[in-house]
């Protein structure tokens, strides 16, 4: 078996960009995908001819059977490594480990990862809801009329029952993200909110209120990856990929072994081991926040606090700027944007901006290391990435 640290510091992010996000009706999903690509290439200071690897994810609003190939064709590039990640916040993120491994193995040198969707403008509300809930088991879950918020509400209720987590603590996650979004001029939602506002918002699936649920957005994000040897040839300081880990425990929530502990335990442990770092070494984190309870379970499973203590951890303000673990500093999926499949990639671009010290009013002072965690399905598929300003 290969060394556990085989990918540590071997690949760097040399370009990163987000498109406009929120409501962006002037672009279709494909338009957003290529706009993200164009911006990331410009940020990396390279032309499209230098791209020999391409990774995309499919878009609900404008799907292609061969999505990455369609984007390569649109941009008129001829990659030798070309992969479409299918769906969800997990596999569209774990594909990064695959792309980094391809670079480290010499399969390709420079990979463009570009992902976008147009859930807000390219679909009706009902279409967006139905498509997302189709993650349920077609034979043993879908006939009962579940919704995506309901799937996550089942987790929230279990966590509340087992650990005494409160609706106020769930709401604190949304408030934490909103405070950061208020410092991000590009965020979709920047109106200040308090815990009482979350609790007063419409109940969607008990105990989740509207403001416990992430946004429905248009938007895209892209990064350019290359080998550490070539990473110095670009305008911005490289951000090195120090650790990767994945964990995949189930697809359908009715088959989950635990409702309150996730495979983020395994993905985090694997990423920390490769990086040779631990939770206390992280200067900031971006934790997949499709719904507020997900953040609490992930904070615990990634070792930022003990099981059952994440509600208090967030409510006490530790995830704010200046706190112990500034979290989701762009505003996250709850307040910055959530275009579906590409969601986790906005965590990666934010970590890159932070580690380059380019995050403006929301900059975490002196940030050296960051952790980004994505999950997809219903707490099913987990991917953790650790990044740093130094390769070693």
């Amino acid at each position: 078996m290969a060394e556990r640290d085989s990918l540590r510091g071997k690949v760097a992010v040399v370009g990163a960009a987000d498109t406009a996000v929120g409501k962006v009706p002037q672009f279709s999903a494909t338009g957003l995908c290529v706009d993200a690509a164009r911006r990331a290439l410009a940020d990396a200071g390279i032309g499209k001819q230098q791209v020999d690897g391409l990774v995309t994810c499919n878009a609900f609003a404008e799907p292609y059977m061969y999505h990455a190939e369609a984007i390569a064709e649109y941009l008129q590039i001829d990659p030798r490594y070309c992969v479409t990640a299918v769906a969800g916040g997990g596999t569209t993120f774990s594909i990064l480990q695959n792309a980094a491994a391809a670079i480290a193995a010499g399969v390709c040198e420079t990979v463009l990862v570009t992902m976008a969707d147009s859930l807000r403008s390219g679909l009706t509300r009902e279409q967006a809801m139905l498509i997302q809930s189709s993650t349920g088991h077609p034979e043993f879950e879908i006939p009962y009329g579940p919704t995506v918020p309901a799937f996550y509400a089942l987790i929230a209720q279990a966590h509340m029952h087992r650990y005494g987590t409160t609706p106020e603590q769930l709401a604190a996650v949304a408030v934490s993200g909103r405070k950061h979004a208020m410092r991000n001029p590009h965020a979709q939602m920047r109106e200040p909110i308090e815990i009482a506002d979350v609790l007063a918002s419409r109940m969607i699936a008990d105990p989740l209120h509207l403001l416990d649920c992430s946004l429905v957005s248009d938007g895209g994000a892209a990064v350019v990856l290359t080998s550490a040897e070539r990473a110095g040839d670009h305008p911005h300081a490289p951000v090195y990929l120090l650790g990767f880990g994945e964990g995949h425990s189930h697809e359908h929530i009715s088959q989950a072994r635990s409702l309150t502990t996730s495979a983020a335990v395994e993905s985090g442990r694997r990423a920390y081991r490769m990086a040779g770092l631990g939770p206390a070494d992280m200067d900031l984190a971006w934790i997949y926040d499709c719904f507020t309870p997900v953040v609490l379970i992930e904070l615990e499973d990634l070792g930022f606090c003990a099981k059952g203590e994440a509600g208090a951890f967030v409510a006490e303000g530790h995830t704010g700027l200046g706190g112990q673990l500034p979290m989701n500093t762009n505003g996250g999926l709850l307040s910055y944007c959530h275009p579906g499949n590409p969601g986790s990639l906005f965590g990666l671009t934010e970590a890159v901006f932070q580690l380059r010290h380019q995050a403006g009013e929301r900059q975490v002072g002196g940030a050296e290391t960051a952790l980004v965690h994505g999950q997809g399905g219903i707490m099913s598929s987990h991917a953790t990435v650790i990044l740093g300003r130094e390769a070693q």
């Binding site: 809801m129 088991h137 034979e139 043993f140 006939p143 009962y144 009329g145 919704t147 209720q157």
Partner: protein, 140 residues
């Protein structure tokens, strides 16, 4: 204009699951059990997911279990479920071990608790299929 509830999705049985749905039509809940390792499983599969070695046997389930978690859906997934809100979606852990997703009937949403004992009932859908649903267990 037909009943919008007729648009509610129905399961499409596969060769592996057809015996389960056929028994539901007769209002019997079946589980699978491995003849070798004795593991129960749900949903039905062509093999034992614990040992992969054997073709599972069908056994009658007790139909009794407890609420592992639940939520009250206030915003329906589609117009086909609009008449049902608010409805209680639950994960039910059967006494035999496996968990299944279902809905709770004959119980006010405010009265549902985790750990509450429940028992199976069946609900006809479009005269094609009988869905296992659950209700509070009769006192005993």
């Amino acid at each position: 204009m037909g009943d919008p509830r007729d648009a509610r999705p129905v399961p499409r049985p596969t060769p592996a699951t057809a015996p389960f749905w056929a028994a539901c039509r007769e209002h019997r809940l079946l589980l699978q059990r491995c003849p070798a390792c004795q593991a129960y499983q749900f949903y039905p599969r062509t093999l034992c997911s614990a040992c992969l070695a054997h073709e599972p046997e069908w056994v009658a389930a007790s139909g009794r279990g407890s609420v592992r978690s639940f939520t009250v859906i206030r915003h329906p997934v589609s117009p086909a479920f609009a008449d049902e809100v608010p409805y209680v979606l639950a994960l039910v852990r059967l006494d035999e071990g496996p968990t299944l997703m279902s809905v709770l009937r004959h119980c006010a949403p405010a009265d549902v608790t985790i750990g509450m004992p429940v028992e199976v009932a069946f609900e006809e859908r479009r005269d094609e299929v009988s869905l296992p649903v659950f209700r509070p267990a009769a006192g005993d």
